[in-house]
């Protein structure tokens, strides 16, 4: 059996008195898409920020490919991240931004896979300043940045928010393709259709606690439902439910 790519051991995070995450234990495998869902302020974004090193856990540890992540940033070479809100330096052009990020990752010109630039229709806009782009176009740029290095781990925070249907579909297809090639994909989403379409497993967070991390098929089977949107409320009715996350 494959080793987990990402492991959370008793991870907790408090902001002052408020605990955004409590005793999160879970692991994510290579070749799977895990959708992180839960109500607003349930800790989804904090969880992925802990993995990305943006937020320092108050307790517990996170391992990637068997190694504990700390302040050494080298593990992030293997991570692609698409944030919920994309803001870039206003006067840089798309081309300059892509060059900068390739530069920061130590890639030679031509090394990153920029086929996605073409696919998402960004080619004619490469010399446009980022301040002049619409929110959706900025999201496309963000998607290119996250996917172009073909990372082992792809983290997407509400990736389709603000994207047009075609672009949203293209971005999600790329994520699925990455999963099929052995990557680990973590996505936060509020859209049940999106979750149902993509997820291999679903992680549900509530008040900072991981209530369950289950394969989609198991959720459907347990609740005798055909759709996740029907299954989740039934599953959550069982207040005792706290499935150990593996």
């Amino acid at each position: 059996m494959a080793e987990p790519r990402i492991e959370f051991h008793d991870v907790g995070k408090s902001f002052g008195r408020l605990w955004a995450l409590r005793q999160v234990n879970c692991s994510f495998m290579p070749g799977e898409v895990v959708m992180l869902i839960g109500p607003n302020a349930s800790g989804k974004t904090t969880l992925i920020k802990c993995l990305l090193g943006l937020v320092h856990p108050t307790e517990g540890s996170i391992h990637m490919s068997g190694m504990a992540i700390g302040r050494d940033p080298s593990y992030r070479t293997a991570i692609g991240y698409m944030p919920q809100i994309s803001q870039f330096p206003a006067t840089l052009t798309i081309a300059q931004l892509l060059d900068m990020m390739a530069d920061v990752r130590g890639l030679a010109p031509g090394e990153p896979d920029d086929g996605l630039v073409e696919t998402l229709g960004l080619s004619p806009q490469m010399d446009k300043r980022l301040a002049t782009l619409s929110g959706g176009t900025k999201q496309k740029v963000s998607a290119v940045l996250a996917l172009r290095t073909r990372p082992q781990v792809l983290v997407m925070d509400e990736p389709t928010a603000g994207l047009d249907p075609v672009s949203a579909s293209l971005v999600l297809e790329q994520a699925v393709a990455l999963r099929n090639a052995g990557g680990t994909v973590l996505i936060t989403s509020h859209l049940m259709e999106e979750v149902e379409a993509m997820a291999d497993r679903v992680a549900y967070l509530e008040e900072g606690r991981l209530r369950f991390l289950l394969p989609v098929q198991e959720i459907l089977a347990r609740t005798d439902a055909k759709r996740l949107s029907q299954a989740l409320p039934r599953l959550l009715e069982d207040r005792q439910l706290h499935v150990p996350a593996t």
Binding site: A78, P89, G106, E111
Partner: protein
């Protein structure tokens, strides 16, 4: 209408997709050089096999370069340069005596430069918050990110000042006093960029950060002078000389003013304290101490800003 692709299509897409295998990365391996990167170019699927973190200085330079490109086109920076040029040029055109114009300019520079620098630094750091987040998820240290951004911001403001203030001074009054004014202005840019960065990093809310920057500026420009004046009157019967010099060091703007006034030889205008300042800061040792105090005013906020940024949840 939902944008989500057909569930069946996506679920079924576990078939072999023409997508290259994700780059396997050995976490502990050192960064490859660019030349090595080029050699690997023929194997795109493994292009990152040996990719790792770049040396901090190298990443610092990259962040510096692109931040400076961004700032070079920033309207505020360009506007700052133009404003300084109009003010400097205008004062020299209005006054027949270049020294009088220089004196007026001292007051303008010592009030305006800290205000614009601290406010712009605070606003800029808030504006690039999301981008800083994006940089922080790259294999790059936070130290390199902050150092690159801070260096670029300082360089941009110094360049704007060199164009807006330095050039007209060179044309109208190429004197040691003008040089000291330029250098003092540059020193203030360094100090208030550092203070602005610290405020922006320590305070999460933009409005509060800007408010705090204004308060800091008011403290240095108005409140400090008022307190100093009150203290000198209140304790005029006591020997306060030993306290005047250290007190000057508490305000970088006042320190800069003293240095310029001494160079223009108008310390007499500063009365009793002017004589004390002349005795101390007029000497080589005094200048050295003044320089060191200004360095401290830069170093302390920068050091604290790095500590805050290192532990900050972004």
């Amino acid at each position: 209408m939902n944008a989500t692709p057909n569930p069946v299509t996506l679920s079924a897409s576990k078939r072999n997709h023409p997508y290259p295998t994700p780059n396997p990365v050995t976490l502990s391996k050192p960064a490859p050089s660019r030349a090595e990167g080029s050699k690997r170019n023929s194997q795109p699927s493994t292009c990152q096999r040996q990719a790792g973190p770049q040396p901090p200085t190298s990443n610092l330079t990259k962040v510096f370069k692109y931040t400076l490109i961004d700032l070079a086109r920033n309207r505020f920076v360009l506007g700052y340069a133009v404003l300084l040029m109009i003010l400097t040029q205008g004062l020299f055109m209005l006054e027949d005596d270049a020294m009088k114009a220089l004196l007026s300019l001292v007051q303008v520079v010592l009030a305006l430069v800290p205000l614009i620098t601290v406010i712009f630094t605070v606003v800029y750091f808030y504006d690039i918050q999301e981008f800083t987040q994006l940089l922080a998820v790259q294999p790059i240290t936070r130290r390199a990110i902050l150092a690159g951004q801070l260096a670029a911001l300082t360089a941009a403001l110094l360049m704007a000042q060199a164009i807006g203030l330095g050039l007209p001074l060179l044309v109208h009054s190429p004197s040691p006093a003008a040089l000291v004014l330029s250098l003092s202005g540059s020193g203030l840019v360094l100090v208030f960029t550092a203070i602005g960065a610290l405020i922006a990093l320590a305070q999460r809310e933009k409005a509060r950060g800007v408010g705090m920057a204004l308060v800091v500026w008011l403290l240095f420009v108005l409140v400090y002078d008022a307190v100093l004046l009150w203290l000198m009157f209140a304790f005029s019967d006591y020997p306060i000389e030993p306290f005047i010099i250290p007190f000057a060091g508490l305000n970088p703007i006042d320190l800069a003013r003293i240095l310029v006034m001494l160079e223009i030889d108008l310390s007499a205008m500063m009365g009793y304290s002017g004589a004390i300042y002349r005795n101390f800061f007029g000497s080589g040792m005094g200048m050295l101490v003044a320089g060191l105090i200004l360095l401290l005013w830069v170093g302390l906020p920068v050091f604290t800003a790095f500590r805050v940024f290192r532990n900050k949840d972004l």
